[in-house]
Amino acid sequence: MKAIWNKTCLAVVASAAIGISASAQAADDCPLPGNLRVVIGSTSTGGDTYQNSSIVVDRLADKLDINAKVDAVGVMPGFQALERSRHGNTVMIFHDGAYLGNLYGVNGYPDIFSKFIVGPTIAINPGNAYLVPKDSPYQSMSDIIEAAGDGKQIKVAIQPGSVSEIGFSALKNAVRMKYPGKEGNIVAVNTGSQADKNQLLFDGAVDVINGSVQANEQYTQLPADDQKAMRFVWITAREKTIAETDEAGMGDTTREQLLQYVTPNVSVPMAADQDFTFDKEFFFLYNKDMDPAAIECIDDALAEIYDEGEIQQQQKRSFFVPDFKPSQEAASYLEEKNDQYKTIISDLNG
């Protein structure tokens, strides 16, 4: 009995040793640990951040021959996990909300450009949109801007401090530019989930809601006498971003129809000769002390994955626009984006 026990123990120890060495060897040509934890800035496993991250991380794990797992821990635990991970065991995937939270002064959002290393961008969710009830008197964003200029209060349901608010700020800024002093007529009704924003529209408690093409398109297909029927008035993505989506568009709304709701067909001025646009982009974040060789390794692996071309098909099927930029390019691009929105927000704050 004792002999069997000893042999069993030996077998267990040997298997563990083999497992550990195999795990360490897996990433030999790349200074990444064999097990990579990818935290995301969302607690939802049904949302776009998780969906997008899992598409990319699965392929990255295959390419690097490592184990990688996406953990939907949320913003603060995500930043905290990243801060603790000096050896690159944990990386983060998040979207523009990572720096917008800081610009809006939300508690706990650091300046990601100084506190972390900004990694590669991977995709755009082109669906950030604004909607009104189907029987709304406002046919376009221009109508809304004019109404605010005329002294009418326009209530907009948003989730504060992130992607949802930036379009609201742009609208307010547009009113400020055209009708200085009237921007106070654009009023935010701060709320949470998409369901809450929809509900406020159903209740008639707001005039406009922030939504998305993915979540709200079917509501735009309902007959006008349905209490739930909505209409797009603005999609914040750039024209070229929407042009890269599938021709079929989303649901019963074709790409051509979606293009009617983006600039230049819809104008929300940001400067005298420039309309505001916003692409919700997803990117990696690394600990400040992450080994540059590991960052390069992820960049190279992603470059290969995107060169192969299959991931683009998968992303497009889920209404994402593939958008790979290696770390350095992504960092300077996102910092520029950050500075652009910083100007709008600080102008509004006076």
């Binding site: 934890r37 935290v39 607690t43 939802s44 496993t45 049904g46 949302g47 998780y50 969906q51 899992s54 699965d58 953990d71 939907a72 821990v73 949320g74 603060m76 635990p77 905290q80 996990a81 939270g101 939300v106 508690n107 706990g108 989730q159 504060p160 401090g161 992130s162 009704v189 701060n190 709320t191 949470g192 989930s193 998409q194 369901a195 809450d196 929809n198 509900q199 406020l200 159903f202 209740d203 408690a205 707001v206 993915q214 979540a215 709200n216 398109e217 079917q218 509501y219 297909q221 309902l222 209490q227 739930k228 989303m250 649901g251 099927r317 889920s318």
Partner: protein, 500 residues
Amino acid sequence: MDILSHLTPMFFALIAAGTSIGIIFGAIPGMTATMAVAVCLPLTYAFGLENGIALLLGLYVGGISGGMVPAVLINIPGTPSSITTTFDGYPMAKRGEGERALKIGIVASVFGGLFSAAVLFFFAPVLADFAIKFSYVEKFLIILLALTVIASLCSNMLMGVFSGVLGVWLSLIGTYSITEGGNGEPRLMFDFMQYYLIDGFSLLPVLIGIFGLTTVLLDAEKGFKDETGQGPISLKGGAKFRFSVFKGQLLNLVRSSSIGTFVGILPGVGGSAASVLAYSQEKNFSRDSSQMGKGAPQGIVSSESSNNALTGGALVPLLSLGIPGDSTTAILIGAFTLQGIQVGPLFIGNNLDTWYLMIIALLAANVLMFGIMYFAIRHIARVIEVPKYILYPLIIMMCVVGAYAINYGIMFDVWTLLIFGVFGWVAHKIGLETVPLIIGFILGKSAEVYFVKSLESYGNYSIFFTKSPIAMFLWVLIAVSLAFAIYLRVRNRRQASVES
């Protein structure tokens, strides 16, 4: 019909596998149906939509049902929605009726599950249209109605209400999150606590701390040696399970299942509110509720039928509006989007085959859950015969693992478990009532969000009374519920004094 081609042995095997795995997840304290579905979500890539949905719905039904097992046998709710199952399940287990209590729970669960599946099938679009009549104001009043259960459950009114308020206070620690439309500012804590408490205390670690760890500490204080009389609870003795126990319970079953289905339809209100509401309504309106809380089958019936009825209810807004009814159905949206299927008000019409398959999967999952649990429960219930000095270390280990895993590896959740375990022990010593406290904790955050958002959206306090006929009706229910609780308390006190 295309649909028949999807009804393969694989389809049903995946429902069975999902249900079994879900039961295991539900039965382990700290593991939930949501976690089971989240863990298996990536598998839907491999299985395709139909088979993937079969697996996920099996996990959902199994996960909700499995929560009753530790609730009855060891007084730890496996999932938050089985909290009310502990009130009567554990007292029954203590008098040797663990198997009976579990079988009552299983039958009630399958009734609730099938009831809600039928409601989903026949009335989904109509109910979704009705659900959108419930704004922040009405949802706040539903939470308030659920909170009135505190008046029914506490043994000392003043201490019970105080404990409930303390629970609400504890739930508000952290930030008023921007993801709920708040300002993101921390409150009710010192600066040095912000690192840990910025998202507040997580529900599951608090729940299993107060129910699980506190029980272990209280028993440890007494000592576990067999000779002290603290040996294992016997399965023998006590009444045997007979289906006749459901005689006179039809109203309870239908009312509780309706409450569960209805609460499921309202996005964000949550499963715990469903079982708490159903339990309080049975307590207030049944002919004889004097034994509730002491091991009455009717308590298990109301709790389990309502929490399983939530499954079909929560699918109503998902499939009719594209809005998840609870955290688990939020993950199901992920399964659809991963397959490139859009959910929204046109989902059913655009995806009739998928819709029928979901209904079949839901029915099959409930029937399989009944088959698996009813016949396996005799063996599962034997866990109660394991001596506590062996069982309790295992429970603590499972609680710690569950607390660590619930938010994907947050160590502070383990500390939360331990803190609330000790807090529960202290509460017991100083006479605080833990059940009202935990109900206050579960419902407090939603109450705050709906209250503040009602005021932000409509601007004045009178809106709570004048918003709609539904709001007025809910006020009537709140008043009646409170009046009944007070009436019952006075009547019981009089009876007690007459008897003495």
